[in-house]
Amino acid sequence: MKDLHFILLLLRKEFLLEFRTRSAISGIFLYVISTLFVVYETFVKIQPNVWNTLFWIILLFVAVNAMVKSFVQEKGNRVLYYYSLLNPSHVLIAKIVYNTLLLLVLSLLIWGLFIFFGDNPVKDIGLFLLILLLGSFGFSVTFTFLASLVAASNQSSTLLAVLSFPLIIPIILMLVKISAHALRLIQDTAVSGDLAILVAIDLLLCGVALLLFPFIWRD
């Protein structure tokens, strides 16, 4: 119960900070809109199979840009203050939950803009929403954890892309495959098995990240 209390407090802190400095979040929203605009300007008409890949690639780049700053604020004296007060797992869980929600909102925004500019190729809306959630969670776990590594190194955001893109491939391959089924591009008879594998990969990475984060956090 106490854990949940701490996590919720930290989550509230994340939301508060985000709304106080609205520049970051509005930057990401603008990034999404301009990307979509460029995509439609150049593609004109998007076939469903291209749509499927494009959607996840855009979400991938949005996720990197949104999450690279996850631990940038946590520097210097403030970290010392947190460190004496908090359990590192709570910090990571709060960040992952916050980033998952943020990514979920962003992916819904991307989907909405796709529908607004073109049309909606998604046939199985329930399944698509489910993989948006699972995808957001998987991206959030990977990027949040790796952002904490990158933040420790005082390096630019390219390092996050270099570290995370190869690691995200198992997740993105599963996502594209299941979403192809949601778009009825393929008849996937083993869709529940694929979903189970996706959940397993997500949980595996989340578990490993939770185990390792305390060592990164300790400074």
Binding site: L146, S153, P170, L173, I201, V208, L211
Partner: protein, 351 residues
Amino acid sequence: MIEKGKIWKFSGVILIVYVIIAGLLIPLKSGIESVEPSYGNAGETLKIQVTGYNTHFKEAGNSLRAWLKWENGKAIAATEMIALDERRMNLTFSIPNNLPENTEVHAVTLLIDSEADGTSVLPSAIFLTQTEKVLTAEEVQWVQPGDFSNNGQITFPFRNILGETIRNTYFHVPLWFGMMFLFLFAVIHSIKYLRKGDAESDLKAEAYTQTGIFYGLLGLITGALWAKNTWGAYWSWDIKQNMTVVALLIYAAYFILRASFEDPEKRARVCAAYGIFAFSTLIPLLYVIPRLTDSLHPGSGGNPAFGSQDLDNTMRMVFYPAVIGFTLFGFWLSSLQFRYLRLQKLREDVD
């Protein structure tokens, strides 16, 4: 005498030398490379020319025997056998009017046996067509192929597409096994570092990762050469090949991460964490995803995994030593690399 601690290094080298000598010098068993023509009709007298591999048709002389065998076990013997040279032979079969199975097209197996070469088998060698059943009272001489000769030579099996490249089993596969062991030890040392904070564990993890990448590259190159000879291209964008490159990219990023730290203690900690995280994605990447998609590689996309029927006993005598030998050699390389890294670090500390 060899010191006790060095025995494993010497055994690794001896095993690799043995694998290279035995793996490259033991000849392939004789086999049937091709049959021309590879189709025929029921009721006709079928003349075919067989091209063998490592065969001695002339030398075999009278001991030559040949059969066409159906799936249900029935077989007919060749009526005439003329050896043109050691590798080519003309065979004549009188195909019965009524073929023994109730399908239109019959894929029959060709068996050749001789004292010089032992038994060679080519499954689905000839496709026989039967359009309609003929009502004749013909007496077919069905035989049971048997009493096979054994020339007692030590050979590797002949597989049609593989040919001589079957020897790559002793290099490509053990290199992958070795790579996984090396990455596993890198993770163990990373975990050790996070638990104990001993700087040597960090250097060991780095050394094991470096040798692991080296083995991975060698595995990739031997795999590409094998693919050129069996799949037709060095790179066929096969899921297994792609995922392998991704795995190597993940470990290449490990070194970029290492290079971006000034403080050695912080570097060791963050890189150990990344190493463990990376290793945990390796399992879905190399062993789960390739099984879900179509792939040419054994063990993925419905292809049989590396199973018991892929190795015969002669191959096992070389394959298992190869796995042990390459793994031990990898550990030796890693320990040398570790000592080099430790010296380098000492020099940095002195400067």
